[in-house]
Symmetry: C2
Subunit: 420 residues, 2 copies
């Protein structure tokens, strides 16, 4: 992942959750004595993908409402259904999403939702790596705001570092348009007090930006900067509508952007200015958003979209080349999550989060440029095995830690109940 020609035929040794060695030479017999061996013939190994924005439990609402205006989708269809969620829906919706993500090669994911204790429990059991935050909407009474902030902080403090370090936590005021400024400032203060990073939605739609200007006299980037959020380790989802000044300010603050191309297209929000963000040196990673606005959680789809749409929209066929798109889904995702030293690449010392794709199929032939194949022809459905922390979590296309049959059955029951 440091260079696009950096593809190796050789051997990788993993021990205690980390990559020990990687090279063309066969490792010495004593270095691998008693080790489990995996034959990589016909497989392409690469770092696990990193999905930096989503709401896993909404997988229950996949296909429930499509091709609607944003407000109809959200207010008529999503919110009432989400309002009926209990712990049971959160549990099985999250499990459904994690099964889909793991099977399609995503090893780390970001989740912003509620009932996060449940999300964390499911994450722990799945073998997946998660950056989790209680997403808080502040359009409510002060008492409710207090309760949400308390819950968000308690969750973040309880779970950070759990599951053998696979679970990380963050603080997430939902968005500038759903949180009063004072509420966001309280989250920023908690972020300082407890040393937690922050994540929020920002500038997804034109309407939301216009409302920000009307309500607060400035656009969302300046607004969040005034509230102190951008001074914290933070990244924002969407960032579709940005001025050059806003891009410069995000770059100056080191704020990451989670680009969600499928969701932004499907909800007709627009196309984020990714080439300009990259030119400014901003860490741009990829997110699926929820399965209700995508409607799949295969990050390979986002990688391909990121490589395709910016060319078509800008008229520049060299915009977001294949290798850049692949980096968005791997190394840039790791950097966004302050884990660039441990994730997103296969190198000695890094965590052993990796996937193996079945390339013994026509769409991977001929062997020309494997990075190009991964981006333009590959798919999460080509993923055959997945490891996180050196433990195999998908084998022959099936999750090993999650009971897929039961998850699909329970998810259907949950949906049927919600839809009654």
């Amino acid at each position: 992942m440091r260079s696009e020609t950096d593809i190796l035929q050789g051997h990788m040794v993993v021990d205690n959750g980390r990559i020990v060695s990687l090279g063309a030479e066969r490792p010495a017999a004593e270095a691998v004595e008693g080790a489990q061996r995996i034959n990589g013939a016909g497989l392409l190994f690469m770092p696990g993908l990193i999905n930096t924005h989503g709401h896993a439990a909404m997988a229950l609402l996949r296909g429930y409402s499509d091709d609607q205006a944003l407000q109809v989708w959200l207010e008529r269809d999503m919110w009432p259904m989400e309002g009926k969620y209990t712990s049971n829906e959160t549990r099985w919706g999250t499990a459904l999403a994690l099964a889909e993500m793991l099977r399609s090669g995503t090893t780390s994911f970001v989740d912003m939702y509620d009932r996060m204790d449940i999300v964390a429990e499911v994450t722990e059991g799945s073998g997946m790596r998660g950056w989790l935050a209680r997403g808080a909407i502040g359009l409510c009474s002060e008492a409710e705001q207090d309760a949400k902030l308390r819950e968000a902080v308690a969750f973040a403090r309880d779970w950070d570092g759990k599951a053998n370090g696979r679970i990380h936590t963050m603080l997430s005021p939902h968005a500038p348009y759903t949180c009063p400024p004072a509420f966001i400032e309280r989250f920023v203060q908690a972020s300082v007090d407890y040393g937690l990073p922050m994540h929020t939605h920002m500038s997804e739609t034109v309407a939301e930006v216009a409302r920000n200007v009307e309500d607060y006299g400035c656009r969302p980037v300046e607004h969040l900067d005034r509230l102190g959020l951008l001074a914290r380790p933070s990244f924002v989802a969407h960032a579709v509508h940005l001025t050059d000044e806003e891009i410069a300010l995000l770059a100056a603050r080191g704020t990451g952007v989670s680009h969600n191309p499928a969701s932004n297209l499907k909800l007709a929000s627009g196309v984020a200015p990714v080439p300009r963000l990259l030119a400014a040196g901003i860490p741009v990673s990829l997110g699926t958003d929820s399965a209700a606005s995508n409607n799949n959680l295969d990050l390979f789809d986002e990688i391909r979209l990121a490589a395709l749409i910016h060319k078509g929209v800008s008229g520049d066929p060299t915009a977001v080349p294949a290798f850049t798109a692949l980096q968005l889904g791997t190394t840039a995702g790791a950097r966004t999550l302050w884990a660039g030293e441990e994730l997103g690449m296969l190198e000695p010392g890094m965590k052993a989060d990796f996937i193996a794709l079945d390339i013994d199929q026509p769409h991977w032939v001929p062997r020309t440029d494997m990075v190009s194949h991964l981006v333009y022809a590959g798919s999460g459905r080509d993923v055959r095995h997945v490891w996180v922390d050196g433990a195999q979590v998908v084998k022959d296309g099936r999750c090993t830690q999650l009971d897929e049959e039961r998850i699909m059955r329970e998810a259907q029951l949950c949906f049927d109940k919600l839809n009654r």
Copy 2:
């Protein structure tokens, strides 16, 4: 495919290459005596997909040149490699493409290339249905033009209706910018003389449209109309850059448009005005173009792109709804190929070209809107079985008529030789 709620749990009987009956009721025992039975549990059956533009043999150049300006890609990389093609490269490149298309659920394809006898032979052997044409570039001497026209006509007359009616032929002057007007007129005359339909590239790039205006004093649609091409049964590929007047003229002539979203994005040609084309009543179908500019031949990808990009670009989340996108890949493809009475739907009397997808996977859960799932979450990799003319051509994800192992091996050898 007549309505988006038209989804049935029941039985389908096929005989002699056609659908005999379809219904919720179990067919009478005597109606299916001795029949082969297929258990559809966990499978979604739908019409085979129809890919209305491509150059199959270019699959050998998948990943050979990416992220380049169009002229560099074409003149520096594609043309010299294609210049080295012999019958062997055409054979194995075509076979590679057909294997990929069949496995991903495409049952009918359009091909415009040369050495079409070989393409037709491979098509015949694959079990697939093809609309084939010798694509002729007219930037050459009159003697060479004569030879190309003769070859195109001879191929079309020899092969039309062959392979038990699975092969159809057309006449294809390559494009207005690669064919002098008189050359196009000779193809039009041959189309009249032999009763053959026509297919060409049109208005893919801004530069090509500008050159047409400079050279001929009008834009490509008017130009092709003056040459008589649009008066013939015909459809054009790309049609990215069109005025309202051009759309009205295409609609008046009944000319179809093959929309190639991935190729148009990847080569930075732009986004075709599909919502306006549909509003004008033009048959809009989907094409992958070649694997050198896509770089895959999975028509589900084009269906999803068609549903996503027009929303994002227009700002209208109701643009190209899921069911419309699915129709582009099925019924509209059939209409484009003058086969709307026989293909693109599952109904009694229609040809038995159908596919079965494995929906016993997390990304197909819950069972909300199966059309939405097909478009936004489905993939050609979910296709498990494929039938053309009632004969099974893909079983458990593998081609039955094509030797996939040999094709992949030979395709690699061909590429290695070309690349020497």
